[in-house]
C-alpha cells in the first residue's frame, strides 16, 4: 500500500520510495528511509498527509505520498 492509503493514527514502516530522484534524496535527507517507522497524524482527501518521523512532523503532497510504499506495523 502507499502512504496515501494510510489511516490516521496508525504506525507504518517504509518499504520503498518510488518518487522522482531528487525528491527521494530529499526525503532520505529528512530521515524517511527504507525501514523507517512513520506515524500518520493527519491526511486529506486529496492525498496530502502529515506524518511524524524521527521526532519531527512533515507535510507531504499527493505526488509524494503516492510514491511512498508502506506496510503496517505494531505501534
Amino acid at each position: 500500500m502507499t502512504l496515501t492509503e494510510g489511516k490516521i493514527g496508525c504506525v507504518y514502516q517504509v518499504e520503498r520510495l518510488q518518487v522522482k530522484e531528487n525528491v527521494t534524496r530529499r526525503l532520505e535527507a529528512l530521515g524517511v528511509n527504507e525501514q523507517t517507522k512513520i506515524t500518520i497524524l493527519n491526511n486529506k482527501r486529496n492525498g496530502s498527509t502529515i506524518i511524524r518521523v524521527r521526532g519531527t512532523r512533515l507535510a507531504l503532497g499527493r505526488l509524494i505520498t503516492d510514491g511512498i510504499f508502506i506496510k503496517e506495523v505494531q505501534g
Partner: protein, 667 residues
C-alpha cells in the same frame, strides 16, 4: 596565544536545518534585527554581521537553512558554496535540540567537510519542558570530540561560551574522523580518495570529495571527473544516507534519555488546525479576525493621530503667516507636504495592528500549517501549498513576499507564484480601503474592505488556474514542508518584526511619499507658463483629463482620480496622500476630511459604486515600483516583468469596468 592586535578576524558560518533558530542566534550575537519567524525558509540570502569576544573580532555569516549538503535547491547551493569556500574558518552548526535526530544528519555531513565544527545545541528549553535529557558528555564523544555548546538564542544564554569555543577552536586542529561506513564502502572511499589525490594533487578534504564522488554529486563530478571502473560503478548515495542514519540511531540510543516522553500539545492543536474539513474555515476565520482587529482597534487609535495632525497643520500655517512666508511656500508645506505625508501617518495604527497580527501568525508556527491546509486548493491550480506562504506574506508587503518565493523548488512554480502574489492586498493598499470604504460605505466599511481582500485571494487563484490551463507543464514538486512545534510567540521577536515594519512605513512616508507629495504639488500648481491660480490649468489636470476617456467606463472618469492612480505607482499609500493634495483636504482621514471628500466627489457623480470600482482597481493594478523592481530582480527578466505589469493594468481595468457597468444595472 597571539597578541590581540595582530589577530586576524575569524569568520564563522552558521549552518543548520531550516527553522532551527540560526537567525535568532545571529541577531543575539551581532545585535542585528533580521526577521525571524517560526516556519522553515524565512532566511533566503546570506547575511553578514560582526560579534566580538574579548578583543577578538568575529565575522558571522547567517545562511539559509538546509537539510543536507547536496545541491538541489537554491538555499542548499548558497549555503554549501559558502561553507566550502576559504572564507569560512569555523562552522557553527546550529541544531534544534528538540529534533536532534533529524538535525544530526546535516551535522555528520559537515563533520566530513574537513573544517572545524562547533555544535550549538539550541532550544534546550523545549527539550527540558518535554522532560527529555541529552547526555552532553557522550554526545561530543560520538561526534569526534567537537565542542557541544547548549545555547538558548531566545533567552540569550550560552552565547559567551559559544564565542569562546569559536575563538579557541579556530586555533585547534581538526576533530578526529567521526563516522566509519561499512567495510565495502570504506574501501571504495579509500580508493577514490587515492585516485583524487593522484589526479588533482593533495586535496584538503579528499575524504569528503571521495564520498561526494560516490554520491554522484553533480558539482563534484563535473569539476573533478574521475574514471574508476569497479569503484565508481553506481551511485552509493542511498547507502551513504542510510548508514549515516544508522549511526544517528546509535547516537540517539546512547545520548537521549526519556525518549518516549513526548509532549503532544502540538499534535493536539494540529488535530484541529489541519483538520480535513475544518482546516480551511479555521484559516479563513483567523484571517477575518486579523482584519477585524486591524479595522476596529486601528480606528480606535486613529482619532488621537488626527487631532495631533490638525493641531500641527494649524500651528504651521499660523507660524508661516506670522513670519510672512511667501504664499507658494506656505502652500507647498501645508497643502503639499503636511497634507500628503501627515495624511499617511494617520493610518499608522491600522498598519501597526496588521503587522502585529501577522507577526503572531508567523511566530506561532501556524504559517507552515497554512501550506498544508491550502495544498488541495492550490493543487487544483497547479501549485503546491507551499506557494501559499509567499501569498500570506503578501498581505504585509509584496517585496518580501516575492523574495520568499525562493523557497519554492522550480522556476515554473516561482514565476507563477510571483505572478499572483501582488493580488494579495498589501498593507499599503489598506489606507485606500480604510478611507474610501469609510467615506462611501459608512458602517459597512469593514465588510467592503474585507470583500476586497477576499477578491484579491480569489483573483490570485483564478489567474493561477488560467495559467495552468494554458500551459501544459504540470506540477512536479509536491508539498514537502516540515511543521514546526507550536510555541508562544516571543515578545522580542514580535517587537523586532513590528518595529522594522513601522520603521519601513515611516521611512516611506519620509522619502517616497514626501517626494511624491512635492512632485504632485508641483504638477498641480504649475504649467508651461509658470504657477497657476486654478488647479484645472495645471500639468496634472492636463494629464488627468487625457486619461479620463479611458477610465470613464470604469466609473473613474474624474481627472483627480486618474492622477491619484498614476501617482500610486510610486507607493500605494500615495493614492491617499494624492487625494489630500488633489482635493485640497488637509486632514483627509478625519470625519471632517471624509465629509469634504465625499462632497467634492459626490458633486461629480462619484458614488459608492464608483468608489468600489476605484478600490478594486487599486487592488488589482500594477504594484508599486519597489515591488516591480524586486520582481524584475527575482525573475531576471525585464520582458516577463513588463508583460506582468501590462497584464495587471488590463485586468484591473476590465474588472473595474465590469463591476461598474454591471453594478450600474442594479443600483
Amino acid at each position: 596565544m597571539k597578541a590581540a592586535s595582530d589577530q586576524k578576524s575569524i569568520t564563522v558560518g552558521f549552518v543548520g536545518n531550516p527553522n532551527c533558530g540560526k537567525t535568532t542566534l545571529f541577531n543575539a550575537l551581532t545585535g542585528a534585527s533580521l526577521k525571524v519567524a517560526n516556519w522553515p525558509g524565512v532566511t533566503v540570502e546570506r547575511v553578514e554581521g560582526e560579534a566580538k569576544y574579548r578583543s577578538q573580532r568575529i565575522k558571522v555569516i547567517d545562511l539559509p537553512g538546509i537539510y543536507s549538503l547536496t545541491s538541489y535547491s537554491i538555499e542548499e547551493k548558497v549555503s554549501r558554496r559558502c561553507v566550502m569556500g576559504e572564507e569560512v574558518d569555523v562552522i557553527v552548526n546550529v541544531v534544534d535540540a528538540s529534533s536532534l535526530e533529524r538535525n544530526l544528519y546535516l551535522t555528520l555531513q559537515l563533520l566530513e567537510l574537513g573544517k572545524p565544527v562547533i555544535l550549538a545545541l539550541n532550544m534546550m528549553d523545549i527539550v527540558e519542558e518535554r522532560g527529555l535529557e541529552i547526555d552532553l558528555h557522550r554526545l561530543p564523544e560520538m561526534l569526534g570530540g567537537i565542542p557541544v555548546v547548549p545555547v538558548s538564542a531566545r533567552k540569550r544564554t550560552g552565547l559567551e561560551v559559544l564565542l569562546h569555543a569559536v575563538v579557541h577552536h579556530s586555533e585547534e586542529g581538526l576533530h578526529s574522523q567521526v563516522m566509519f561506513y561499512s567495510k565495502g564502502l570504506e574501501a571504495r572511499i579509500a580508493k577514490t580518495e587515492d585516485a583524487l589525490n593522484k589526479k588533482y594533487g593533495k586535496l584538503p578534504n579528499a575524504r569528503w570529495m571521495a564520498i561526494k564522488e560516490l554520491d554522484f554529486d553533480e558539482e563534484i563530478t563535473k569539476n573533478y571527473p574521475l574514471d574508476l571502473p569497479g569503484v565508481l560503478d553506481e551511485s552509493y548515495e542511498k547507502q551513504i544516507i542510510n548508514e549515516k542514519y544508522d549511526y544517528i540511531e546509535e547516537i540517539m540510543e546512547e545520548c537521549m534519555v526519556n525518549k518516549e516522553k513526548k509532549a503532544a500539545s502540538t499534535e493536539r492543536i494540529d488535530r484541529w488546525m489541519t483538520h480535513r474539513i475544518w482546516g480551511v474555515p479555521i484559516f479563513l476565520g483567523i484571517l477575518a479576525l486579523v482584519f477585524f482587529l486591524t479595522f476596529t482597534i486601528g480606528d480606535f487609535l486613529k482619532g488621537y493621530f488626527e487631532t495631533g495632525l490638525e493641531w500641527f497643520s494649524g500651528q504651521t500655517l499660523l507660524l508661516m503667516q506670522n513670519i510672512g512666508a511667501a504664499d507658494w511656500l506656505v502652500s507647498l508645506i501645508v497643502d503639499g507636504i503636511i497634507a500628503g505625508v501627515g495624511g499617511i501617518l494617520t493610518f499608522l495604527p491600522n498598519i501597526f495592528i496588521l503587522f502585529l497580527a501577522l507577526a503572531f501568525l508567523e511566530d506561532s508556527g501556524y504559517m507552515a500549517r497554512v501550506a498544508y491546509v491550502m495544498d488541495d486548493i492550490m493543487g487544483r491550480v497547479g501549485l503546491s501549498g507551499k506557494a501559499f506562504l509567499p501569498m500570506v506574506l503578501g498581505f504585509g508587503c509584496t517585496v518580501p513576499a516575492v523574495m520568499a518565493t525562493r523557497g519554492l523548488e522550480s522556476e515554473r512554480d516561482r514565476r507563477r507564484t510571483i505572478l499572483i502574489t501582488p493580488f494579495m492586498s498589501c498593507s499599503a493598499r489598506l489606507p485606500v480601503y480604510v478611507l474610501f470604504a469609510s467615506v462611501f460605505f459608512g458602517n459597512k466599511a469593514m465588510f467592503v474592505a474585507y470583500s476586497l481582500y477576499v477578491i484579491g485571494v480569489l483573483m490570485a487563484i483564478a489567474v493561477a488556474l488560467v495559467v495552468d490551463r494554458l500551459s501544459p507543464k504540470k506540477l512536479e514538486n509536491a508539498l514537502l514542508i516540515e511543521l514546526p512545534e507550536y510555541k508562544t510567540p516571543n515578545a522580542r521577536t514580535i517587537a523586532i518584526y513590528v518595529w522594522e515594519k513601522i520603521k519601513d512605513y515611516l521611512t516611506k512616508a519620509g522619502t517616497t511619499i514626501f517626494i511624491a507629495s512635492i512632485v504632485l504639488w508641483f504638477v498641480l500648481n504649475f504649467n508651461f507658463s509658470g504657477m497657476v491660480t486654478e488647479v484645472s490649468d495645471s500639468f496634472g489636470a492636463m494629464l488627468g483629463h487625457a486619461l479620463v476617456p479611458i477610465l470613464a467606463p470604469a466609473g473613474l472618469g474624474v481627472w483627480q482620480i486618474a492622477v491619484a492612480l498614476i501617482s500610486g505607482l510610486s507607493a500605494k499609500e500615495v493614492v491617499v496622500s494624492s487625494c489630500s493634495v488633489l482635493f485640497g483636504i488637509s486632514n483627509i482621514n478625519s470625519a471632517y476630511g471624509m465629509t469634504a471628500l465625499s462632497g467634492v466627489l459626490g458633486s461629480q457623480g462619484f458614488g459608492p459604486l464608483n468608489a468600489y470600482a476605484f478600490m478594486l482597481f487599486c487592488l488589482l493594478y500594477t504594484p508599486c515600483v519597489a515591488a516591480i523592481g524586486t520582481i524584475r530582480r527575482e525573475t531576471h527578466s525585464l520582458k516577463w516583468t513588463a508583460g506582468m505589469v501590462l497584464f495587471q493594468l488590463l485586468l484591473a481595468w476590465t474588472a473595474a469596468v465590469l463591476v461598474y457597468q454591471i453594478g450600474g444595472l442594479f443600483l
